[in-house]
């Protein structure tokens, strides 16, 4: 294990060099996050399909429990139970549109992870940076539990637990626990915990700050300790169910799955679950007494428990839906935590959008009206009043809005349109609109994936590290 220990120190030092201006020390944050002896306990695995490039390159890295799909290169890194999902990468011959530019893609895009430590992190989508279209890089970066790196090249960064960086190139920056950033490009920023920041320069700027004294109950993180809080406990309590499905080679599907839908064999399916047509259930999703109507999806690290999704519902990476009713076309953003109770259910009205990193946790029944944005931390009707707004009202904003913990500047109509367009794109990419012949998406393309496993050195100086492995057609 000597090499692995040295590698972890090296990664911490490299991140520290990048973050020195922010006076941030990564090493105490990561030292006890994952005991290194865990790195020999879990195999890594990769998917093979006829629809995605097969091009893996692993060197001097530990990959315990991690999953790879598409074109990925991992060098001098430690990945622990992370998903590197390259099924949306650009391919040779594609054309990338950026403002007035149309840029041809000259080679298949690849995810390149170097000198980084990712813990239970999801890497997905593709680089949106026109300066690096064929390389979706993650370099000198450390991410804690359940972080999302979504279409966001990162260089010299730290992401706290349940942090998300979305469609944003990030340099030398820190994203605090449970913060969400979608801002195009950032550098040398230290973004504290519980921030939800969505910015499109020249169009709109949305910033919400979770009340930290309340957020701490749900997620908290301090150096030398693993993440704490209700959300973390909720996930940890269901860890064993995943262990069982990772321990067996062949697993039978426990519920009927329509021919147009995809249920990943690494998802946990508990009794009374129903899968509709064009549904996508990704690996590490957890469904229990869940009904997913036509065109709905449950992405990585999603938990849907005792809930019903009426149809065309997007449950973005890491979202949890408990004891709730989702009417048609509801979007639940990254890492949102929606918890009703058996005797006081939560209902989200048709077409409404639960913005990323929203927490709704109620003790009395609560209904979000149709066509509303919802954000922030909501425990009751009064919170809902200050943390929601009808699309029609939001569209009227032209200038400024300050409401509760939200500050907004710009054109509300553009914000509404941008979200609606993106949700439509997500549904299309996931195959929600498949008609039997046209509009194939992940739900149809990911149906038949073969999985191969790879293992690390079991002992000696290299214990926990994987040998150099190149996998190509």
């Amino acid at each position: 294990m000597k090499e692995l220990t040295t590698l972890l120190d090296r990664i911490g030092q490299r991140a520290n060099i990048n973050l020195r201006d922010l006076d941030f020390d990564v090493l105490p944050q990561i030292k006890k996050l994952v005991p290194l002896d865990q790195m020999v306990k879990f195999y890594a695995f990769y998917g093979i399909t006829p629809h995605h490039p097969l091009d893996f390159h692993f060197r001097h890295s530990s990959l315990a429990g991690s999953y790879f799909l598409g074109k990925c290169r991992v060098v001098n890194s430690i990945l622990y139970k992370s998903d590197i999902r390259g099924d949306e990468l650009k391919q040779e011959g594609d054309v990338f549109r950026y403002k007035d530019f149309e840029i041809p893609i000259l080679m298949d895009e690849g995810i390149e992870i170097e000198d980084s430590f990712l813990i239970k992190t999801l890497v997905h989508n593709f680089s949106h940076d026109p300066k690096t279209l064929e390389r979706f890089f993650i370099k000198d970066t450390v991410s804690a539990h359940y972080a999302n790196i979504h279409g966001s090249p990162c260089d010299g960064c730290f992401l706290g637990p349940l942090a998300t960086v979305d469609l944003t190139t990030m340099h030398d920056s820190i994203i605090g626990a449970f913060s969400y950033v979608q801002a195009g490009e950032i550098a040398h920023l230290n973004i504290g915990p519980g921030i939800v920041w969505i910015r499109s320069p020249g169009e709109f700027n949305f910033l919400y700050r979770h009340p930290l004294h309340k957020l701490d109950d749900y997620v908290s993180f301090s150096a030398g300790r693993t993440p704490q809080g209700f959300i973390v406990d909720f996930v940890e309590d269901r860890k064993e169910s995943f262990q069982k499905i990772f321990d067996v080679v062949n697993i039978a599907t426990s519920v009927p799955v329509p021919s147009s839908a995809s249920l990943d064999r690494y998802a946990v399916i508990k009794p009374k679950t129903q899968i509709g047509e064009n549904v996508l259930v990704a690996q590490r999703a957890y469904l229990q007494n869940a009904s997913l109507g036509k065109g709905s999806n449950a992405q990585e690290n999603c938990y849907i428990v005792n809930s019903r999704l009426a149809g065309n519902n997007v449950t973005a990476h890491g979202a949890k839906i408990i004891e709730s009713e989702m009417e048609p076309n509801v979007f639940v953003g990254f890492n949102s935590f929606l918890r009703g109770r058996p005797d006081c259910r939560l209902t989200i009205g048709k077409d409404s959008i639960v913005l990323p990193h929203t927490i709704i946790d109620i003790r009395k029944p609560l209904a979000v009206p149709p066509e509303h944005f919802v954000w922030g931390l909501i425990n009751n009707q009064a919170d809902l009043a200050s943390n929601s707004m009808a699309f029609s009202d939001f569209s009227k904003i032209d200038g400024e809005l300050v409401q509760g913990g939200l500050v907004f500047e710009g054109q509300g109509a553009r914000f509404v349109t941008a979200f609606r367009e993106r949700i439509n794109h997500i549904l299309a990419a996931n195959g929600a609109f498949f008609d039997g012949t046209a509009n194939r998406g992940h739900a149809q393309r990911n149906q038949r994936i073969s999985f191969n496993t790879i293992q690390p050195y079991p002992d000696g100086d290299q214990e926990g590290l994987y040998p150099t492995i190149v996998i190509q057609p």
Partner: protein, 188 residues
């Protein structure tokens, strides 16, 4: 008439408004008013208050700007608005936020209640090395120290380790002006 040293133009500490640590802003303002009434020996009004500890040692100064700043919305609010800058909000947006916060803060008519609750030590400027000058120092050294120190409107004058007076910019300026007038204008 020419001035040669700091002690010739400083205001002796005894003539300056002083209040003990623990005083509130209202008491400080009353002390200032009192010295303004008692020492109308030159045309420049006193504008600052010196804060002293139990041993009568000087530990800080409180200027008019410090008092006004104390009445502004809390620093936490300031920090919150300033932090919007890193998130790309426009200068106009931040100006407007400050204005809104100010309007929501204490109106002038309610100031009496506010100033009697605020302690001088929370808003005073503590002493820094650059604002101490020996009473025997020349006027030229004092000018240089004020200019280099940038925003220093006054210096504290020492005799040995003890602060014995305040050298105000307004008095230094007046001294320079008189000296310039003496050398340029013909004497009668």
């Amino acid at each position: 008439m020419s001035y040669h040293s700091v002690k010739e133009i400083m205001v002796p500490l005894a003539e300056y408004a002083t209040v003990p640590v623990g005083s509130n802003l209202l008491e400080a303002m009353i002390a200032l008013e009192k010295v303004q009434e008692e020492f109308i020996h030159n045309k420049h009004r006193h504008r600052g208050i010196v804060i002293i500890d139990k041993e009568k040692g000087v530990i800080g100064k409180l200027g008019q700007m410090d008092v006004l700043r104390a009445l502004e919305p809390k620093k936490d609010d300031d920090d919150e608005i300033e932090s919007l800058g890193q998130f790309g909000f426009s200068a106009a947006f931040m100006r407007n936020r400050r204005k809104q916060k100010r309007l929501a803060a204490t109106p002038i008519k309610d100031l009496c209640r506010t100033v009697s609750k605020l302690r001088v030590e929370d808003f005073m400027q503590t002493l820094s090395e650059g604002e101490i000058i020996d009473e025997e120092a020349s006027l030229e050294v004092a000018i240089q120290q004020m200019v280099v120190g940038n925003h220093l409107l006054s210096l504290l004058v020492t005799r040995g380790q003890t602060i014995v007076g305040v050298l105000r910019m307004t008095d230094v300026f007046a001294a320079v002006f008189h000296a310039a007038k003496e050398c340029v204008l013909p004497t009668a």
